[in-house]
Structure formats: C-alpha cells, structure tokens
Subunit: 299 residues, 2 copies
Amino acid sequence: MSVLVVGSTALDSIKTPTAENPRLLGGSASHAAVAASFFAPVKLVGVVGHDFPKRYVALYKKHGIDLTGLQIVEGKTFHWSGEYEVNMNNRRTLSTELGVFETFTPHLPDAYKNSPYVLLANIAPSLQHHVLDQIRKPRFVVADTMDLWLNIALDDLLKLIKRVDCFVLNDSEARQLTDDSNIPRALKKIHKLGPKYVIIKKGEHGSILSGPSGLFIAPAYPLQKVCDPTGAGDSFVGGLLGYLASQNGSIEKNLRRAIIHGSAVASFCCEGFGLNSTTRATKQKIAARVRELEKMVGF
Amino acid sequence: MSVLVVGSTALDSIKTPTAENPRLLGGSASHAAVAASFFAPVKLVGVVGHDFPKRYVALYKKHGIDLTGLQIVEGKTFHWSGEYEVNMNNRRTLSTELGVFETFTPHLPDAYKNSPYVLLANIAPSLQHHVLDQIRKPRFVVADTMDLWLNIALDDLLKLIKRVDCFVLNDSEARQLTDDSNIPRALKKIHKLGPKYVIIKKGEHGSILSGPSGLFIAPAYPLQKVCDPTGAGDSFVGGLLGYLASQNGSIEKNLRRAIIHGSAVASFCCEGFGLNSTTRATKQKIAARVRELEKMVGF
C-alpha cells in the first residue's frame, strides 16, 4: 500500500568540521519520501520554487515518488543552512530562508486523498492539520515535529497530537513538551495527549516506542563514521512508515520491525551529505543492516 | 564459582532535589559485592575505619559476603558527599575525605588468591594492580574505573587495561580516554589498549559490549522513578560478574545475558538511596526484570 508524505522540500547548505556542501536536496519530506520509497509507493506533497534543480526532481522520480502533489511555484525554494560541531550531534542554524514555504498551503490531488498510510513529516502543525483535513479514513497516521513548533505553535501541535495514531519526537522535545526529564514518565504523559503510539528518538542511542503492548527499546545502527546527520530523523520515520505500508498484518505486529527498518535507513542517511548516501542504499543493503541489528540485540 | 571484589568501601552522604541521606553504606566494592551476591559467593577486599557502623557489616553478612579481606583499622572510613541535579544525571562532589583509604594496601587472604572471577571495581589503578599481582590464574578479570584516574593516574590505568579481560567505563570516560566522540570508534581504540572485551556504560541509554563476536547493544531497564543513581555502575559490573560466575559454559556464550542481569540489578540500585533498594531485591525479582527486558528488545 502507498504512503503519503507531507513535509518540507528544501535546499540545505551544510557545514561540518571537515566539509561544506551547498544547496543539497533536503527537507523533512525529501528525506522521508526517499526512505519510504525502498518499501512502498510514495506520494509527495510539498512546494518548491523555480530555482529547484531539475536533478532533484529526477532524483525523486528515480525513487518512483509520485510528484502530482509537489507544487512548483514562482519564488525561491526553502533554504536552510546549518553547521555541526565536532561531536556531530550539536548543530546550529546559520540561516533560514522560507521562500515559497511562507505562503504554502498543501492541496491534495484527488488520487492522494485515500492514502492509507500518512506521514506528517516535520512542518508547521497548521499545515499538518490541513493535510489531515483532506484525507479520507487513513489506516495509520504518523506525525513528526521539531522544537520550533513547541516554541511557536504549541496549541496547534497539541491539537494535532490528538488526531494522530503515532506521534514521533526526539528526547529533548519530549522533555520540553512534558516538562519531565524522565523518558519513561514523559512517554506516559504524551499518551495522555492522545496518541496510541509514541516514539521518542534518541539519535545514536536509538529510540523507544510506547504502545499498547508496552515499551520497545530499539537500537540505532552503530556507525564509525557520521558524515552528516541532517535528515536522519526524517529518514527514520519515512523508512518506518514505508516498511509498515509494505507488510500484511496488524500495525501492532509490524511496528517493532518497522522501527528497526527506520533505524537502518537512517544510518545510511548519516553516512553521506544530504541524501547522497540514502539514495545509494538498496532494499537488500537495508535488510542486511536489519539482520546485523538483530544479532546485536539478541541475548 | 566465587567472585573476588576489590574496590572502595565508603560512607556516602547524598543529596538529591527531594531528599538528603547522610552516611549511607557506599563505595564501589559495597555496591558491586551486594549485586554479585545474588548469583555467586562473594569475597570482599577493602578497608574501613573504626567508625564503620556495625549494621553495615551485618548487611554484608546478610548477603553472605566473605569479609576475611575487609580490613578494619584505626581512623575514619572513606566518606564521600555529593549532590544530584534535578535531571538525576549530573552530580557534583561536595566533599571527599579519604580517611583510612589514604594508606590502604589490599592484602589478599590466602583463600582469596585462587578466585576465578575477579572484579577490580572503581579504585586507584595502583591498588587494582596490587590485587592482580596476588591472584593466581584467574579465569576472568573485569576492571571498572572513573574519570578521576584518567586525570591523575593515566599511566597506571593504561598498564592495568593491558592486564584485564574486560574493561568497563562510561561513555564520557571512553571519549576522554580515546579523544574520540564516536563510541563505535572509541571501542576499537580501547581494544588496541589490550582487553578482549570492552563495555561502555551509557546510564539510562544502556551499554554496549564489544568483543570477538561483534557488538552487543544492551538496554537499561526503564525506570519511572530514579531515587539515587549512586553505585548503579558498580551494581552493573557486580551483577554482571556474579551472573557469569554462576553459569556453566564459555564467557563468550554467557556475557550478553550477564550484562542484562547487571542492568537489572543496577535498576534496583537506582530506586533507593545507597543500597536500600538493592538489598531488597531478590534473584527472582531480578530474573523478572531480565524477562521484561527480553520482551522490550525483541522484534
């Protein structure tokens, strides 16, 4: 079954202690859509300007991504620029130019409205609501977010959390949202906001799922070389939902393996700038890392 | 088979945001010995002063710990005092009074010298060497350490690392020792210093073992209430080595389950001040948490 992905479609200029790469293909929807495409057909919703390089459109197409919902409008593509510290965990934003995102309203093509799996990748909660309003009876809706929306659009975000099946956020966002430094307690508090499933991403420390059958402690794939972690979280949710959409059986039964597939795709993302390494992954290479992870956690 | 534990035997005065407890039984050897005692007979090596409360001697005895190697000498027991921040991860030392530890030289009773399993719990590396010098053909030697020894006794520590089968340290110590912020790379660098097995403790994020059959990513037991994490790392290595000593078969075969047992015991440690909660654990309660962890990581 197919996955609908809405989120940001951007150009990222990224600086690390060892290299600098301008105007890479980036944005939460780009990372999530490519990650999901290894497992299921993907429909993209987003907006770019006329400056959006044709090679990036070709890249989406190479991954079989349906671009009917990608608006190409007058103006400049959303451009983010950031810099990582030596530890590759801390990063600071150097500049954010919203461009055509400033006036973006996601319109779903009719063919998108029956999408069974919906990923509201990181984007303003008001836009995530707007997409949900247009969807008919989705089977499973996942929403991701970022600290920015906790700071400037908390009411919208809280309303959104009530509407989704699975809410994904990172550990510092979970602490901020719940005002609680204890992750197991924070998970309980987030369930009270509505969602059946909550996933807290912890970067190199993996992730933790809380749902009806308790906690699932998931590892990150250990990497000896992290080139650029931008988009790893988006790749994680994209891979997760793509895998879910490709499987028969209940969400409950498949969600743990979906998370591991998300971890595996995210590890490829970290090994190259932008989407350079993700796009070189294959279903087989991802499956090999899933098997490795399986061996690394068994006892 | 039995476990020899050498380390500090101390009185800890601990302040958290919600409570304050003076002169608790503490020290790396106390935590490790009690943790190991759930699985195997334990022989303790340490030193205390005449002010050491009799109830603490009784506590050791209640756990069947052999105290032939515990020196009780003129002077004051090592006293550490520290304070935790609200997140219960960051702590600062308020005072350290070495007392009788200042002149301590561990002498092993003859009956200790054939101990097959040896835990060099956190203590000055020179003392860890001194204990190893007195041991005949141990089957498995584990050494733990702390940042203090990296700062003031690095040469001694590097020589010690060469002599042990398994070296245990936490993530920030691993980064400091290897000057590398990447944990998988740090593990490789520490292997080059000598030990066959390296375990990096990551607190609430669990631990990671590196050995001949690759990496093992181990979870911490998720706790909704952390009362006092002092001694959790010592309980982890104690539980780990106690479990190993209780099992037939190769180290390689048993080490992963041993780590999970260490995690489970450490979780009890965190639930009370000092050893208050650890001493209320039982082999059955620990086994129940091991089963829970097994369910939490399966996919």
